[in-house]
Symmetry: C2
Subunit: 298 residues, 2 copies
């Protein structure tokens, strides 16, 4: 019996969508426009890669995936907030995201900023509220909150976005600088997804270190492939091709060429998979996710 990664990802996506919707509807109140705008972007689709990684990592260690739900969904809410803010006119000025109008083009700039702010803040609320009611210990909740805040704050995701911004149009971007941007902007939250899932699953120190290697390599491979797809990608990517080129963003393909970028992504994918060796057959999902992401053509 084989493991069908496409079936796996799509059934997990259904589970994440359902859980996210449930949580967000629980938040709803008479503050309707704000919540509508939050819901719009959270439910606008997406692969749900981060929550799926969080669950998979917990499950691999024999943990109960239900215990990851608040954390997995909080991470997706934070990811969504970052997309809403990235798309703003003063940032990337994008009108389309996942094939749909971006938040600010539907709700206006002011409400889009607030929807992002609220998603970020409510994410922490969700972890505490639901985490405690799922009987995560306070120490575990604190540890997970620290990982998430660190991975998404000024030394993580937002820090990466700020450097990226400062490099736009710059002529002297090195591979190292580009790697630093990627590892912060995209990598940090992917790492956090895997690591928090592992902690909830009861990982020991050595397992955490192996999963750190896995998620670091995975996150970078993921971003390189994204850059390649920005040049070569088909319709399914849901946003116009060539955006990075138009904005003169420093990407792997622009620095080392498309073919070398693909080779680098393949190498990183193998590194990620190698880091899972000790987990044996239990690691099938994390392994197949890396394979799948490394070979994406959409």
């Amino acid at each position: 019996m084989g493991f069908d990664i496409k079936d796996y990802l799509s059934s997990r996506k259904v589970l994440v969508d359902k859980t996210l919707l449930e949580y967000l509807l629980r938040f709803k109140s008479d503050l309707s426009k704000l919540h509508e705008s939050m819901l719009y972007s959270v439910m606008a689709g997406g692969k749900r890669l981060r929550p799926i990684l969080c669950m998979a990592s917990c499950e691999m260690l024999g943990g109960n995936i239900e215990k990851t739900f608040p954390v997995a969904c909080a991470i997706e809410m934070i990811h969504t907030y970052s997309l809403i803010h990235d798309d703003l006119p003063s940032m990337d000025d994008d009108l389309l995201r996942r094939g749909k109008p971006t938040n600010h083009s539907v709700y206006g700039e002011a409400l889009a900023i607030l929807a992002g702010d609220a998603l970020l803040t409510d994410a922490f609320c969700l972890i505490v509220d639901e985490g405690i009611s799922l009987r995560l210990t306070p120490s575990l909740v604190v540890s997970v909150i620290k990982d998430i805040a660190e991975g998404s704050g000024s030394h993580g995701m937002v820090g990466g976005q700020a450097i990226d911004l400062s490099l736009e149009g710059s002529k002297v971007v090195t591979l190292e600088m580009s790697e630093r941007v990627h590892s912060l902007k995209t990598g940090a939250l992917i790492e956090v997804s895997v690591m928090t899932g592992a902690k909830i699953g009861g990982a020991n120190r050595e397992q955490l270190s192996q999963l750190k290697s896995y998620s670091k390599a995975l996150g970078l491979a993921f971003q390189i492939i994204d850059d390649v797809l920005d040049i070569e990608g088909g319709r399914e990517i849901g946003k116009s091709r060539g955006v990075d080129v138009r904005k003169k963003k420093a990407t792997y393909p622009s620095l080392i060429g498309v073919e070398n970028a693909k080779k680098m992504a393949a190498k990183l994918t193998n590194e990620a998979i190698d880091a899972l060796e000790d987990f044996g057959s239990e690691a099938v999902a994390l392994r197949e996710i890396a394979h799948y992401l490394g070979g994406r053509t959409y």
Copy 2:
């Protein structure tokens, strides 16, 4: 020997400024522009009312105020982020704040948005990192994080800002709607400041309930006076007068007249002070803060 509220507030402000700077410099790294922009707004002044309330509430109960530092500073970081985002062109479009150019007029809109995002996120990091090293129990840290996230998210501060936005220029704003906006937009974080300080100070349930009454009344009085000052205020307010009127914002003075608004603020100030009765002479600071804020003319 009298209690000099002006001395008290200014010495506490010095303490908060020093602690905030220390924490923020610890965060600093090579992500320099972002951190510079965060520092700029956090250190741009302000009364530091929220952290001072947090400390005062803890101290009244016999707690060690040092234990409140991370939480008090985190609340001020969140307050600062909200000001940065409120001042943005798509929101209030303000060029001056506390007499200085607003964040976006110095660093540009994109970096101002990111500085706000980072301050909000790093605030949670600070609470966990420093809270744990000051030996707050994980349960207390979790409880404080919940209060802060709830008070500043879609059902608190951001929710209030979203309603305020939706009411701008509207002709049918009632006193109830205006009170709701104020209690969420400004009141929620003031309440959280008092309540988290109390929890760190070891308050029991009854004390928490009395401090809830105090902080609710205080927060509303504070906002009403702010509205009045927007019409009557002197130079010291650091931003142009008449901003609310120009934007047709529904304020207490516009709804019930300046004199009635002043009377209402005085009544609320008395309510706040009454709620402190059981704390006796220990409550001198919280009592004097209410008196002082209720009688502000700047």
